[in-house]
Amino acid sequence: MEKYIDDGFAAEAVKESDEEIVSLFWSRDERALVLANRLYGRLVYHLCFNVLGDREESEECQNEVWLALWNAIPPARPAFLQGFLIKLTRRTAIDRLRICRAAKRVPSELTVSTEELYHDLKNAPSAEEKFEQKRLSQLISDFLKTLPARKRYVFMDRYYMAEPVERIAKTLGITPSAVYKELAAIKKDLKKHLEENGVIL
């Protein structure tokens, strides 16, 4: 996969720190959290904020991420901690967003009781649903790997990292309208790719 920008030296440095931190997690040494926070705290907070849009919620979410990370390693032994952590952060933040959204609905007794009922009655995703979900992820991943590096960067930054368009434009040194244009083109191609593979949106 072609990279938009490559900094092999930096990647090596990060890998070294990652290994050290993961080892600390495995030996249940709390310094692992301190180091992880020092290295990736800002990025974690940033992603939480992109998803939640609220400072207080993001801070709480960040704490949840550290707890989740502590519980996840071991058994996990990620080779690239940053990627692992970001995936965990995104999931945690989205879960929190769903809770926040639910809480902000009209708090009538009917809403509350229905939510409560739904929470208890809803089924875990079926095997079929899980399969479909995984397939969709794979289709999108495959599609992204075929994109030119810059387009892939724009897509990932917007839809995975939830970055504002203005920030992406600034990072790439282009105008926001250029970013919008690229996104529109990518979405059109993605739609075609999904439809060709039997996914109807």
Partner: protein, 306 residues
Amino acid sequence: MNEERLIDALSELDDELINAHLEEKAALEGLAARRKRVARRTNKAVLASLGAAILLLLLLLPAALGKKDTPVLPGVSTDDPTASAPASPLPSPSLPDVSPSLKPPLSATEESSYMEPPTSESKNDDSPLEPDIFTTSWLEWLVSDHGDTYPMVWEGGLYGSIKYTEDMDPSAFEFMTYHNYFNLCVYMSSAEFDGYSSLGKEDYSYTWKVFYRPDGSDEDYESVEMVPWGAITFGDNYLYRLNLHDYGAKLSLKEDGSTQTYHFIFIILDQEGKIVIWQEELVDWTDSSQAYYEDALAAGAIKELS
């Protein structure tokens, strides 16, 4: 398929894609930050040149107009140097006398004579600290024991001592901040530094490395020029500043030459002049730095910690 499932599907993208994206993102954001800093410096330089050009024009224009309109008095020779005022030739403007920016550098004491300490209005200004607060005159005003009328700036001052050796792990004096804008003032004492008289002079070579960490990694760094504030009013101590924008930073000192010992006071201020984060446990506070700190207190340069 609903929106929620799409969100979940995106959350489960290939690790390879995510890892590659994070690496690229760090590198690109680092580049963007560098571009921004270079542009800022360039803009400042262009504005300064433009300002100087306008000043020059303003100076020359009245003089030029004055010559054109100069009446020649009847019976008075324009060649006569003793003739009355209008007959004198076009005066050559003395730019340095008018434009402070073109004056040769003044000592801190001289400079303070025409620069006023900040007023309460300047404190409430929304603009960043520069240049209202970070001026030599402000520091002189501060150390002349007016600090208590200027809240928050030195109050609860962050201080520390770092014994730096060449083989020292830079992370020993690492700090992180999540603030988007902050100023780090580094007050450097040369108290235990052999040959300290050359500290801060051009012939002394050292750099600060500021590691910008847009993604929390260490890789994107650049040397940041330390801007001397000039000698302040006690001892042979120097204050330097680094203005760090947009990112958290990891700071380390790289120095050419033999092992030295420095003492520092670190003050990290946000744009309102309030002190922000400091990881004090990273600082090695020694007896000698305690003595130094007390000297600084006695001299009125810093206030007692709250």
